[in-house]
Symmetry: C2
Subunit: 912 residues, 2 copies
């Protein structure tokens, strides 16, 4: 007996038995098929259908695009099953069954063949349908749609050819709306569409209904391996061997007159998350008219007036679906002659704001647990909520300056500023070149997704809040305005005009997806305030609870390590305050050298560097002490009671000197001109700077190396740290200084420098007569430090992974050079899957980190381990830090909320 490739509408239990879980059912039948079957099971009206499994797709591809043994026979049997239920017969001119053929993978994805409606129509069944319905216009409207859809999506004919014919026909009929075309017009169109098919493909539109089904099914399967689908899967990290299912579903018609209609809706507002039905609906129309945004639809409440019974039924079903799925649903429905049919349900895509609100509301409604709420919200959502928004002031100024351009539907919130480009390919190309891009289109299609993803913002002139552009933009958090219908796009001239103002390709525009407004030129943006986002604060609070309870890991020595904390990188008291507001539990990195670059201090720093004798050097260094002490005092004040890791000076000294080329140019110029006054001094300065020049400064004299060659600088810093901490303590704060030594490569470096610094720490505490806890530790950013962590941990009380440098040296990539020279090529060519400076490379850098944690803790069981590289704010990297047993991650204050959620995600994903 051959494998079961096909499941009938009422076989969801069988599928569950075979697949073992609901997730398995979704994998087997695809999301769409699984939900149709589930709706059927719980008594929601769904037209009879059957699903060809994703396993069938994979088998089809494996066998060289051939149906595997038994599949077609099972499809024929299943067709009999739905014929029986529907009381119609496929291909029977007297009582024809029509079906839709729709793809449905486990995860919804663009780039695949989507839908062919009205399959089963041909010249004969069309006649039968006319007899049966008495509605010739309806039948030929359906027939012409079939031929065009089949031609474009199954046979791969350019759909512009069909649209051209439609436009010509509308012109001929003197109308602008499809609905105004008569049955005769449509009959004529059917014939013209047949000609288009014959001319394009060399064969006729297939009249055999079974051949239609078979070809459409094959087309769905084949599209799984289309270039766009593969590209999308790669980007979204979807496995290639999942395959797509095919759903073959009895057609119901929303276009059978004014007692019919069709709509799409979200059970809650996908933009704000409010608990109100949100959707669009069209009387006497087929679903695609709404989804594609080709006709401007009515709000869903309109249905209450048009079809009150169906409306009430729909509201009840929606409620039932939310209760059943414990999630906001995105549904499609059709009303055929007052009978409501649900055609699809799925978890609704939503904006960041609504994701958070819905998750929190549903916990409060008792629909889901806090854990579920945490899982529901992506870190990207949180990121988006903290994304820049337009500044009201500059926005008003722009209005006053007459820079308002157009307004449309606020489809995906957020502010975007960039240059206008008018097609997806160009948008992507310009974005890769580093430009900020706004993609401008009449409307978008699945083919455009690559450009939409590359864009900072999207603007369309057609479609509504559930149009393709709006849905995709919300999913990916790209600010988007749709249906800005007062503007016109001229694709030939590549420009968009509104009220006599024209924006050419490449011009700057600003798009406000929150209000739906579009401005000429650049409008300034500001960061939003976390304090005002009540639901987000609630959610993050839950995240911290979950991390604390579920995130406990077994340490190397068997004792538990607390859940991963989130600390922040902050150089100034103001940063530290923001970090604390955002929920940071400590400062993981204060870079002290920033303090040296301030204009009032830099000359002193330079004088120190150029000092010829020890006396001058000490003198200059001591001038810097009060500055540093007051910087540190502010940090201890802001972070009272929490640890503050202060990194001793890290960069090479030449970074504090004037630019070599500038001085060189001055010297040459003076020499050529024969100017002698001041030349000698300039030459000497040049020589000094040149003597400091390093061929690879990244690996040169910096960090602890500098401290060993020239300890005066860090001795001053440690004195400043402990004097500040002592003063803070005296003033009633609770300072917890942790001194971090950068660039350590061998434990001997710590053996040399650390005791000298500890002596100063103790001396200061004695002088000031106070005591407080402190630690001395090190960055782990040199591969050798990771490899010899057992030795390093003998001295260091904490490790902080400097994953920027650790990545640079583990890969041998100079970041600045690499990103410019070959990293882009590497990612394009698939040599690297992701940029290792954005996401920790687990196999290489990560293996070193794991070694370091294990070896370090074996030498010092209570070793505190964190990360302060940029990876500290990246969710995948945070998950990895959870896995290797870090105590905390430290990231920029703005990323702290994202990191808190990511930590909770990791805790839940990997709990025992």
């Amino acid at each position: 007996m051959s494998k079961k490739w096909v499941y009938l509408y009422n076989e969801v239990e069988k599928a569950e038995e075979y697949a073992g879980s609901w997730d398995g059912v979704r994998g087997l039948l695809g999301g769409k098929g699984a939900n149709l079957a589930e709706m059927t099971r719980i008594g929601i009206p769904v037209p009879p259908f059957f699903t060809v499994t994703t396993e069938g797709c994979i088998a089809f591809i494996k066998e060289g695009n051939q149906f595997p043994v038994g599949m077609w026979e099972q499809m024929l049997d299943a067709m009999k099953g739905i014929e029986a239920k529907a009381g119609k017969t496929f291909g029977d001119p007297n009582n024809p069954l029509l079906v839709s053929v729709r793809s449905g993978a486990k995860f919804s994805m663009p780039g695949m063949m989507d839908t062919v409606l009205n399959v089963g129509l041909n010249d004969e069944t069309a006649k039968g349908m006319v007899k049966l319905t008495g509605n010739e216009r309806f039948v030929f409207d359906a027939y012409r749609r079939l031929i065009a859809m089949f031609g474009s999506v199954v046979l791969g004919i350019n759909d512009g050819l069909f649209e051209e014919k439609l436009d010509e026909m509308k012109e001929k009929a003197g109308t602008k709306a499809d609905t105004d075309l008569t049955a005769d017009h449509l009959k004529e169109l059917v014939e013209e569409f047949k000609v288009v098919t014959r001319e394009a493909k060399g064969f006729d539109f297939p009249q055999d209904p079974y051949e239609q089904v078979r070809l459409a099914t094959e087309a769905v399967f084949s599209s799984w391996n289309g270039a766009r689908a593969i590209a999308y899967r790669r980007r979204a990290n979807i496995a290639d061997d999942l395959g797509t299912a095919v759903n073959i579903c009895t057609m119901v018609f929303g276009n059978m007159g004014d007692d019919s209609g069709t709509g799409v809706a979200f059970t809650r507002d996908p933009q704000t998350g409010e608990k109100v039905m949100f959707g669009e609906y069209l009387l006497n129309a087929q679903g695609e008219d709404v989804v594609a945004g080709i006709r401007n639809a009515n709000p869903i409440v309109q249905m209450k007036e048009d079809l009150p019974e169906a409306y009430q039924q729909f509201m009840d079903i929606s409620d039932k679906l939310e209760q059943h799925y414990h999630n906001m649903q995105d549904v499609e429905f059709t009303i055929e002659r007052r009978t409501l049919w649900m055609l699809q349900t799925r978890d609704g895509k939503r904006t960041a704001k609504s994701a958070v609100k819905i998750a929190v509301d549903m916990v409060n409604e008792g629909l889901i647990t806090k854990e579920e709420a945490i899982k529901r919200v992506d870190t990207d959502h949180v990121d988006t909520l903290l994304h820049p928004q337009f500044n009201a002031e500059t926005m008003n100024a722009a209005r006053d300056e007459g820079r308002f351009f157009v307004s449309g539907v606020n489809a995906s919130p957020g502010a975007a500023v960039g240059r206008a480009y008018f097609d997806a390919d160009l948008a992507e190309e310009k974005a890769h070149e580093g430009q900020d891009v706004i993609m401008v289109r009449p409307f978008t299609k699945p083919d455009d997704v690559h450009g939409m993803l590359a864009a900072k913002g999207i603007l369309t002139t057609e479609g509504g809040a559930t149009s393709h552009a709006a849905v995709v933009a919300r999913q990916f958090g790209v600010p988007c305005v749709v249906g800005a219908s007062t503007a016109k796009i001229d694709m030939a001239q590549r420009e968009i005009s509104s009220n006599g103002v024209t924006i050419k390709e490449g011009d700057w525009i600003s798009v406000d997806g929150t209000t739906g407004e579009v401005f000429l030129g650049v409008v300034d943006v500001i960061a939003p305030e976390l304090e005002e986002q009540v639901e987000l604060l609630t959610l993050l609070g839950w995240a911290d609870e979950i991390t604390a309870t579920e995130g406990i890991r077994e340490s190397v020595n068997g004792s538990p390590t607390r859940g991963l904390q989130v600390w922040a990188n902050a150089d100034y008291p103001a940063d530290a305050e923001r970090a604390r507001t955002y929920g940071a539990k400590g400062i993981g990195l204060c870079r002290t050298e920033h303090m040296f670059f301030e204009p009032e201090r830099l000359p002193t720093v330079q004088a120190f560097i150029l000092a010829k004798d020890e006396k001058t050097r000490t003198e200059k260094i001591n001038l810097l002490l009060p500055y540093q002490r007051s910087d540190f005092y502010g940090l201890f004040e802001a972070m009272t009671g929490l640890p503050v890791i202060i990194r001793l000076i890290d960069p090479p000294l030449h970074e504090f000197m004037p630019n070599e080329d500038d001085i060189f140019e001055e010297v040459i110029s003076m020499r050529v001109k024969g100017e002698t006054e001041g030349l000698a001094e300039k030459e000497q300065l040049l020589n000094t700077i040149r003597a400091m020049h390093e061929s690879n400064p990244m690996m040169g004299m910096r960090g602890v190396r500098l401290s060993i060659v020239m300890p005066a600088l860090v001795e001053m810093q440690v004195r400043a740290i402990f004097e500040a901490a002592a003063d803070a303590k005296i003033d009633g704060f609770e300072p917890k200084p942790e001194v971090m030594i950068p660039l350590t490569g061998t434990v001997e470096e710590l053996r040399w420098i650390q005791p000298r610094l500890v002596r100063i720490a103790k001396a200061v505490m004695e002088e000031k007569g106070v005591e407080f806890e402190y630690k001395f530790g090190t960055m782990i950013e040199i591969p050798r430090a990771a490899v010899t962590a057992n030795e390093i941990a003998e001295m260091a009380e904490f490790f902080s992974f400097g994953t920027n440098d650790l990545t640079q040296m583990t890969f041998g990539y100079s970041r600045d050079d690499a990103e410019r020279a070959f990293l882009v090529t590497y990612i394009e060519e698939g040599v690297l899957k992701v940029n290792p400076f954005q996401q920790i490379d687990r196999e290489g850098v990560g293996r070193l980190m794991a070694m370091a944690v294990a070896d370090g803790r074996s030498a010092r069981p209570d070793l505190e381990v964190g990360i302060c590289g940029e990876h500290g704010g990246d969710p995948s990297s945070i998950e990895f830090c959870h896995l290797v047993g870090n105590n905390y991650v430290s990231c920029s204050p703005f990323r702290v909320p994202v990191a808190r959620l990511a930590a909770a995600h990791a805790a839940l994903k990997h709990r025992k």
Copy 2:
């Protein structure tokens, strides 16, 4: 009962029982004490003595420079033991026993208190001695020596103060030789020396013989932790907790008249290794006169005439010692009134040449095994034998130009050219600054060793072939001429003069330790020919045999890995030929980029880099193909039958471009002068070079990165390699090309480039109609490659550790910058024990290597693993490569013999 701190002359069995082995006895009694005891045991005449153990020394230091419980009592007992044997009593004016107090550690080392003779003399015993010997001159000569030696070495008085008095006395006596001083002169000197002691120390020279012994013993123990001793131990890698023993030995006197004498000798010639007694001897003298080279001694054969019976006895004893120790001995003896006493024997230090000859001869004589011979010869010896020597031609030219300066005793062979410096501290300082230094001194003392080690060569005006300078120079392979007595050193003027010519401090001189000649200025040096060094060739042949049989290691997968082979790095056919002559079994690294720098090719390379279009680029690349092909053909010809690893282009392209600063200077200068002709082109060139500039080129676009961004270059190289190999095959050679891809960090790089290159290789073989074996592999020089070696080995058929870059990136040291900026400080401060660029850092870099070998072989059991960094020629690193399971090391052709011996050493040291 307290521990046994003291062993009497006849207690060697007790010592052996306690210490467990002969090595243990040497550890317990020190080398000197152990050998004295051993000689006593086998019936060789040794004056009665006892030894205070090294454990006593360590206990003394631990207890704060106090004798541990029981030690002094045991010493008093032992003194009784030697009194009984000698028939004299220590401190008894009527029949006084005198003793020497000498240090003796397990390994002989400079920097410690060495010897005090005549201990036991005081005003009373001196009188007794006069009565007993009737020789007042002898007694007071001994007494004044005791006071001076005791004063300088035990009490730390500047010995110049005693020398000054001696010189004054000689002047007063109108003589130049100590021997011409009368008893009265010496009596007066004794009194003057007592004054010197009192004035320097504030107390009198101790009259109590037991106090003398006690203070001398304490001084020896204390000197173990003197700064120089510690410095030496650090350099020579001797553990600090070994301690030194103290030998207290009955004095015998070579200065009791013309029936007495003293001498030092080697049982074979320590310079050439010939089997002839080699030594010096003085009638009527104490040993120090010979050793210090203060009086010019007679050759040992003179003794045959003076004291024929003692001579014959000495020759027999020498023979017995060689037979007993199976090694050439360095002995000291004294004849007191025709009775021969042996005062010391030890394995003789020798030149590289003699080490090799003696080892090979002794195998042929049946005294030692081949393995023992291999162990006896240091890799440094081999290195020295291949060290540069003066070129006969330039040497003759120098003579013709009148640049001959002086000639002396050829004490340590080899050629040295450098600047003259007149004291050890300055010599060391200048050498650290990077100068080539020749240390010039009247004679040397243990205090001078640091300068001698830092020098390229040594010249003394006093002393003979067994003087301190000669012995140390031979040990460390520093070319040395001693006793150039026609030259005079003026320390005040800091210059040396001979025959009216003066060399000032800092002037260049050339020292030929092989012939004993010294020249003004610089004389050219050449490399010696290995072919002529018959014994060395024999020894290296044995080394290869031993490596092949004893060097087999168990591999990761349990199958054996053959003994470590030695391959060579060679870029040109001539290098390859030399490598093969020197015994290389393959080429481990051919750097192809050197071929691009040749003047006739560089413009083409630059044109390739600057090409604006693909056509020009391909055109230029193809111009380089014939050059590369012919280079490679020569390599395959020279290495027929052996593997040749060719590395594809590695450096960044900007290395092939003109210097940026030069062009910048030209541009600025033209701009300032207002010159416009050609300015635009120059500016464009400058911009191009600047665009290629990288902030850290070491980690930039080079190696495989360059190949992926711009594959044309390596495609040409691979074509050239395989065309050359095919041609060689056709011409009857047996080419074994192995293509090495540099700078790999991820297996995906290999997945991208390797198949493209393999395709070319196969295409060429098909075009040429020949087949031969080949491999594709990679450098492991990026830490990530080592960490992900299991993946890399899926593609790479061989690994070659590029330990230069691997060390740079594992430590995060840019080598050029580091050595200039902080590496010296690090080594001085003990942060690094050795320079990791000279010797593989086993804990860090080595751990990565070990991981890479294990993981690589787990993925590909027959993975070929080698090393081609500079470490490939370093013995410690070679040992490490043996331990991690390398198949071969590859080093410069000149280092191949050293590496062959080092491989055998490793095989023997670690055999199962």
